[in-house]
């Protein structure tokens, strides 16, 4: 039991389990899963589907934070990728009533992801080559990126009329959401890269002591560029899923405040904000915790105007539960009481 409690994933898992349990007690149907329309159906499946974009963005963010960086432009990149994809897919009813995309789907998706990667590379160049503080460097794209997205869409919400595009955000494969498969695949690839190649060691070395890593011959600058570029790519993938889910691209609100949720997911998962120690699986759990919190608020029927306050309180409680110092304090207090009694 003690060894289990010391495992890095114990507290994120426990937090998630506790949240689900509370929901299950308050609303037994919350945990119900059924088979409907050829796929699994229920609150839990919905959470998995909605958490997928956050998971994907947070995985990219995990690596950036692990090398002592930060990327607060991911929300803006989501909006850009969504706008590019929506514009290129477009779609509409042709004269004969059949739906068609403006450009082939593969081209639209590829172009959107390419633009997202360029955004990430831009961030990386500012940090690595221009030597800017990561938060400042990515702040530029955070502000400018949303402007670019609005420029692309002409300030309009671009609606996509091309059903094949909807698969990403609301399709199912083998009974589970396609978005979840994408997130799982991404996690698996990263996990293999981190444990079956030197990448994990390099990232932890750079995060732990960048100068020592460079002296040891680690190409720290190149790795940092790749990590920022990957973070952009991940945000792009999330942008596609989000816009596909709502069948449109809204430059104004797509990915709004997503960077903060992503950072929160990374921290909840046990990655150190100071760099070095990171956990990809922990990040996935962190993203699930955040989405479950959101679902909990809806399921409790909290009025929209107090929504954010309730979320803040819940996040606060979750952070306390995950804080080793706070747990030690509680334990000491409890023991002191027991000793006195």
């Amino acid at each position: 039991m003690k060894r289990l409690a010391q495992h890095a994933l114990f507290w994120p898992s426990a937090t998630l389990a506790l949240l689900l349990l509370v929901n299950g007690v308050l609303n037994p149907s919350f945990l119900a899963i059924s088979w409907r329309d050829g796929h699994l159906f229920g609150n839990l499946i919905d959470i998995l589907n909605r958490a997928a974009p956050l998971m994907i963005v947070s995985l990219g963010m995990t690596l950036v934070i692990a090398i002592r960086g930060l990327d607060i432009s991911v929300g803006a990149v989501v909006a850009i990728a969504a706008a590019v994809a929506a514009l290129l897919v477009g779609g509409g009813f042709s004269a004969d009533g059949a739906v068609a995309s403006r450009y082939p789907l593969w081209f639209a998706l590829g172009a959107a992801l390419m633009v997202a990667m360029i955004c990430g590379l831009w961030n990386g160049l500012l940090v690595v080559k221009a030597g800017m503080q990561p938060i400042v460097a990515t702040l530029i794209l955070m502000v400018a990126g949303r402007g670019v997205a609005q420029l692309l869409t002409g300030g309009q919400i671009i609606t996509v009329y091309y059903p094949p595009y909807y698969v990403l955000g609301s399709g199912f494969l083998l009974g589970l959401p396609v978005a979840l498969w994408i997130a799982a695949l991404l996690w698996l690839v990263l996990q293999l890269l981190a444990t079956r190649t030197g990448l994990g060691l390099f990232i932890r070395a750079i995060g732990g002591n960048p100068e020592a890593a460079r002296v040891a011959g680690v190409r720290a600058a190149d790795i940092a560029l790749c990590v920022y570029t990957f973070c952009g790519l991940a945000a792009g993938v999330a942008g596609l899923i989000i816009s596909s889910n709502v069948k449109s691209a809204d430059a104004n609100s797509a990915g709004q405040l997503l960077e903060l949720d992503a950072i929160l997911a990374v921290v909840l998962g046990g990655t150190a904000l100071t760099g070095g120690r990171f956990s990809l699986a922990g990040t996935v759990l962190g993203a699930l915790i955040i989405q479950t919190l959101t679902a909990t608020i809806y399921s409790l029927g909290v009025p929209p105007e107090v929504n954010l306050v309730v979320k803040a309180v819940l996040v606060f409680a979750v952070m306390l539960l995950q804080s080793a110092e706070f747990r030690a304090l509680v334990l000491r207090t409890v023991r002191a009481r027991a000793g006195a009694a």
């Binding site: 079956r196 030197g198 932890r204 100068e211 002296v215 040891a216 600058a221 070095g276």
Partner: protein
């Protein structure tokens, strides 16, 4: 001398850490007006004893008496209130505050309430000036501490430590980053404080310094007390034997010179290597199987030359040839690929990744050279780390211990192990013996000679001329960021010193 008043008395101090008994029943007695050396190898328990005395860590057993009264120390602040202050290896002044602010930090004089109750800055400066004056230190107290040379910062740190009427002053390797003149300045301060009746505990690896400034010493070995001696009782050889527990056979360079083979290209050659503000154009040639010693004062360009050779800093001019080929050397990663290796001078900042394990630190450079394409799996990492830990005698609870928990000398060995793992053709060692105890020093130098005998070209940089003379086949001397001259192996220390000092030699005239 025994009649001097005893200020601090520690009896039977024990302390265990997971897997290690750091201290077992150690006694220490400090007397007023005496400088007392605490001697021992890395891992002997010196650091732990200091931590106990300064309240950083509680002993498992034993008692500490201050002025005859038993005390329990549980924080550095409280120890300081009781009159026990410490200055650590690297001085801990706040670089962005002035000297006066640093010295009075935590006990700023306040203005009276009618005048606002803020900090009384003129009084702060006056007190700092008065204290420094009393100690015979001449520093402008309004200067920012960060702008002062390391040695002057060290003096100010000592002044700060005694500002609150310290009765006991602990100096933990205060001289390890100072050059000769700076050490003398510190010693003058130590003597001043001693004459004012402060009991001083002095920890160092430099034996000659012990005999220069100390009256008495306590020797530890493997966490146990070996004994307390007056410095006049125990000579350097006896002291080393006490620390190591055996007689040391001093490593001496075999007298066979490196084979003179001018047609074989040098393993590493640099021509006109220069960087503005760091090094004037210098030529270096390093042959296979040779140890080239690099001597010079602090700031003479020793480290700068090494960093340029390893492409850690970009050069403003000059070429670097490896095995005769002109190499595009832009980054340490390039140097690594060409078979170069560099043990940096500042192992905390440029060497170790503190939270990674000993194993991960050891495999880092080799994995970096292999890149992402191939991977040292867990079994290979363990085998490599086990072999090197055994070969270099690295003391660690396990190869999975975070390297930050090892003692300084063992961290240094692990960094050397990291480079040995890459089978380097050229090994650049920048002050490898700094902060390393005497036995480990001997082992390290023996290791260097063995590597050279196996064909590695070694560039050996050290501030200790005696060491350079002992291991080097040739000695390159730098002065004022330029080459001052070159001496053959076996040259006398005096010859090296006169080159460093700028005396006339055959090479110059």
């Amino acid at each position: 001398m025994n009649d001097r008043a005893i200020v601090l008395e520690a009896r039977g101090i024990s302390r265990a850490f997971p897997g290690v008994q750091a201290l077992a029943g150690v006694d220490l007695t400090l007397r007023a007006g005496e400088v007392h050396a605490l001697m021992g190898q890395n891992g002997a328990g010196k650091s732990t004893l200091i931590k106990v005395l300064t309240g950083l860590c509680a002993p498992d057993a034993g008692q500490i008496k201050l002025l005859g009264r038993e005390v329990s120390l549980h924080s550095p602040q409280q120890a300081q209130r009781l009159g026990v202050s410490a200055v650590h290896q690297e001085s801990h002044l706040l670089p962005n505050l002035s000297v006066a602010e640093n010295i009075c930090a935590g006990r700023y004089p306040r203005r009276s309430w009618p005048r606002g109750g803020g900090i009384d800055w003129p009084e702060t400066r006056r007190r700092a000036r008065e204290l420094l004056g009393r100690l015979g230190i001449d520093i402008d107290v309004t200067q920012l501490a960060g702008g002062l040379p390391a040695a002057v910062q060290q003096l100010a740190a000592v002044a700060r430590a005694v500002a609150g009427d310290a009765r006991v002053l602990i100096l933990d390797e205060p001289t390890s980053s100072l050059d000769t003149d700076e050490v003398q300045a510190l010693f003058r301060l130590i003597r001043t404080l001693r004459d004012q009746g402060v009991a001083i505990l002095f920890v160092t690896h430099f034996l000659d310094q012990v005999y220069e400034v100390c009256d008495r010493m306590t020797v530890l070995r493997n966490g146990r007390l070996v004994g307390e001696y007056a410095c006049s009782q125990l000579d350097a050889r006896g002291l080393v034997a006490a620390m190591v527990g055996r007689e040391l056979a001093e490593t001496h360079k075999s007298t066979t010179p490196a084979p003179d083979t001018p047609d074989v290209p040098a393993a590493l050659a640099a021509r006109g290597l220069t960087r503005r503000g760091a090094l004037k154009p210098v030529d270096v040639e390093l042959r296979k199987g040779e140890v080239l010693g690099l001597a010079g004062l602090l700031g003479s360009g020793r480290t700068e030359l090494a960093r340029l050779l390893f492409a850690l800093d970009s050069r403003d001019g000059g070429e670097i040839h490896v095995d005769g080929r002109d190499c595009r050397l832009e980054e340490p990663a390039d140097a690594l690929r060409l078979g170069l290796a560099y043990c940096p001078e500042d192992r905390k900042q440029d060497g170790i990744v503190a939270e990674l394990s000993v194993r991960e630190n050891i495999v880092l450079a080799l994995q970096a050279r292999m890149g992402l394409a191939s991977f040292l799996n867990r079994g290979e990492q363990v085998a490599l780390a086990d072999r090197l830990v055994a070969a270099l005698g690295i003391k660690t609870a396990s190869i999975d211990t975070p390297i930050g928990q090892l003692s300084g000398g063992n961290q240094q060995k692990a960094i050397i192990a990291r480079w040995l793992a890459t089978n380097p053709r050229v090994l650049i060692l920048d002050e490898p013996t700094r902060g390393v105890d005497i036995a480990a020093k001997q082992e390290l130098m023996g290791e260097v000679m063995k590597l050279a005998a196996d064909g590695t070209a070694v560039l050996f940089i050290s501030a200790e001329i005696e060491e350079v003379v002992r291991v080097a086949d040739r000695i390159l001397v730098l002065r004022d960021r330029a080459k001052a001259g070159e001496l053959p192996g076996g040259a006398s220390e005096d010859a090296v010193y006169s080159l460093i000092a700028g005396g006339m030699t055959a090479g110059e005239a």
